[in-house]
């Protein structure tokens, strides 16, 4: 589905953000990318849809080499990649519906976009999706009137409006409170699985990554330092990715139901019992 080969990105400032990343996703799964700030997580996913131009290397999505495409072909390829952002990046003065429909901008012509006359199928998909992400009845609300969690739901709907072959998700929960973070991650993973869409998810929160992702890739110094299942994340692996630290409070048992108590005492009791 997606194969990234020997991807390198050197910024004009000389920073080597990616130093030969090779990664293959061949089944619809949620891949969490963890790593410290500056490890190249954001650069990696932006190189996939070329919001950032990689210096060298190849990104191939469903047999299409994204890295060599012309401007027009790149726009066509971007239509097949839905992106979700940390700061939601909704256009705040537009309504929820306009934001969701903007996922179809690559498919309608200028006048359709200008007059907001989208094909009936798009409109009905948008209503379905808003319903699915829990925003039924919000279509006429302006995006700046929504809470953070609600905005991210619109962000998810916008990305899914593209019927993407791949979801690129950049820190979806970093601006959200812990409870909303879990809800958003759960929604995101459910939708990815329902639709059989693979997702690359940058995430700071190792606990969340462990709870929700099918696979975890650790980046360190612009290279893949770990690639495995959530249960393979050990003290040693986290030290390799982030450096020395007491990881005993971070590593959790993998559980996908949301009953886990969050306060430290309860976690301690649980780890003592397990």
């Amino acid at each position: 589905m997606l194969s990234i080969a020997d991807l390198i990105k050197v910024y004009p400032t000389g920073t080597r953000a990616l130093n030969g990343v090779t990664l293959k996703i061949d089944q619809p799964q949620v891949v969490a990318i963890i790593g410290s700030s500056g490890a190249g997580k954001s650069t990696l996913i932006r190189c996939v849809n070329r919001l950032i131009e990689p210096t060298s290397g190849r990104v191939v999505l469903n047999e299409l080499d994204v890295t060599t495409l012309s401007r027009a072909d790149l726009r066509k390829a971007r239509r097949r990649m839905g992106m979700i952002f940390q700061e939601y990046n909704l256009v705040e003065r537009l309504t929820v519906m306009e934001n969701a429909l903007s996922g179809r901008l690559g498919y309608v012509n200028f006048w359709q976009a200008y007059r907001r006359r989208y094909p009936p199928a798009d409109i009905s998909t948008a209503f379905e999706l808003l319903d699915r992400v829990g925003l039924k009845g919000y279509q006429d609300t302006r995006a700046d009137a929504l809470s953070g969690g609600q905005r991210q739901r619109v962000g998810i709907a916008r990305a899914l409006m593209q019927h993407p072959d791949l979801l690129l998700v950049d820190e979806p929960t970093a601006s959200l409170d812990p409870k909303t973070s879990r809800q958003i991650m759960r929604l995101l993973c459910e939708l990815a699985h329902e639709r059989g869409t693979p997702a690359l998810v940058n995430i700071h929160d190792v606990g969340l990554a462990q709870s929700y992702a099918d696979r975890i890739v650790g980046l360190a110094g612009g290279q893949v330092a770990f690639d495995g299942t959530p249960s393979q994340l050990t003290h040693q692996v986290l030290t390799d990715i982030y450096g020395e630290e007491d990881w005993s409070k971070t590593i959790r048992k993998v559980d996908k139901d949301d009953k886990k108590p969050k306060d430290r005492d309860a976690l301690d009791r649980e780890s003592a019992a397990g």
Binding site: N49, L51, R75, K76, A77, R78, R79, R80, M81, M83, F85, E87, Y88, N89, L90, V91, E92, R93, L94, E98, S102, G103, R104, L105, G106, F110, A113, Y114, G155, R158, Q162, L168
Partner: protein
């Protein structure tokens, strides 16, 4: 207790010699420049005796100004309407021309060569005061409202264009990035990310510019570019001071109404 009990904020200029030196220099310079022929290259050629002789003349002029003479109200009305029409036409045309100019001068939207051309046009049109531009247009197109409208169009275009460019450059990049990531082309990006975010500010600035154009339309008239200003200049040169006062009162009312209207509209544009 060893912590201090007094605290003074740090001075803007820390070095006391420099601080007091600069203050003394400024005071000294002011004195030298106002006393005629005291210091070469500094003193202005001001004849204070003339300032004294001007005072009774000012009193005489004021006496001849009151009561204001509104008897030639038709001329007054014609001038006012011409000024307002000039301001309206110039604002609308300026608003339209400002859009391409503003887009071209926004670094985050256009490539470097286009940006440089856009910025250069903004810089050139903003270098000269309206009155200087008006003198040019009066020389080229002759007296009357055409020169006035063109002057105000140039001024409005560069003012609104500059504001628009700055606002676009200050946009959070995320929204542009998000729309670009959907595979949207450049025009659609303008439509979905730039236009909705810019529209209220753009309208606000344009309304402000309409208000400013009403004020400026009275000024450019003085160099012969039409409107109430031209009537005012004529009345001064004929020593019709009572009519001049009537015109000035009318301009004050007009500018006040313009500002009131502009504030009212901008208050509602949130």
């Amino acid at each position: 207790m060893s912590t201090p009990t007094t605290w003074r904020p740090p001075k803007l200029i820390a070095n006391p010699f420099l601080r007091y030196g600069l203050i003394s220099f400024a005071v000294l310079y002011l004195i030298c420049s106002l006393v005629p022929n005291l210091v070469p290259y500094v003193s202005l050629d001001i004849d204070w005796a003339r300032a004294g002789r001007g005072l009774p003349r000012a009193a005489d002029m004021l006496k001849r100004m009151v009561p204001p003479d509104f008897s030639r109200w038709e001329l007054l009305q014609k001038g006012v309407f011409e000024s307002v029409r000039m301001a309206l036409a110039a604002s609308l045309l300026g608003m339209i021309l400002a859009i391409p100019l503003g887009l071209c001068a926004a670094r985050n939207l256009v490539p470097m060569p286009v940006y440089l051309v856009g910025r250069a046009m903004l810089a050139i049109t903003r270098t000269f005061h309206e009155v200087i531009i008006a003198i040019f247009f009066v020389k080229i197109f002759g007296f009357g409202p055409l020169a006035g409208v063109l002057t105000l169009v140039v001024a409005s275009m560069s003012f609104i264009g500059k504001m628009l460019a700055e606002d676009i450059e200050n946009m959070p990049p995320g929204q542009l990035e998000a729309i670009r990531a959907t595979g949207a082309s450049f025009p659609k990006m303008l439509l979905y990310a730039v236009q909705p975010q810019m529209l209220p500010r753009y309208l606000g600035v344009s309304i402000y510019r309409l208000d400013a154009n009403i004020r400026h339309s009275t000024v450019v008239g003085i160099v012969g570019a039409g409107g109430i200003g031209q009537v005012l200049a004529a009345s001064f040169s004929r020593y019709d001071y009572d009519f001049s006062l009537a015109i000035l009162l009318t301009i004050i009312t007009l500018v006040f109404l313009g500002e009131f209207f502009s504030n009212w509209v901008r208050g509602r544009l949130r």
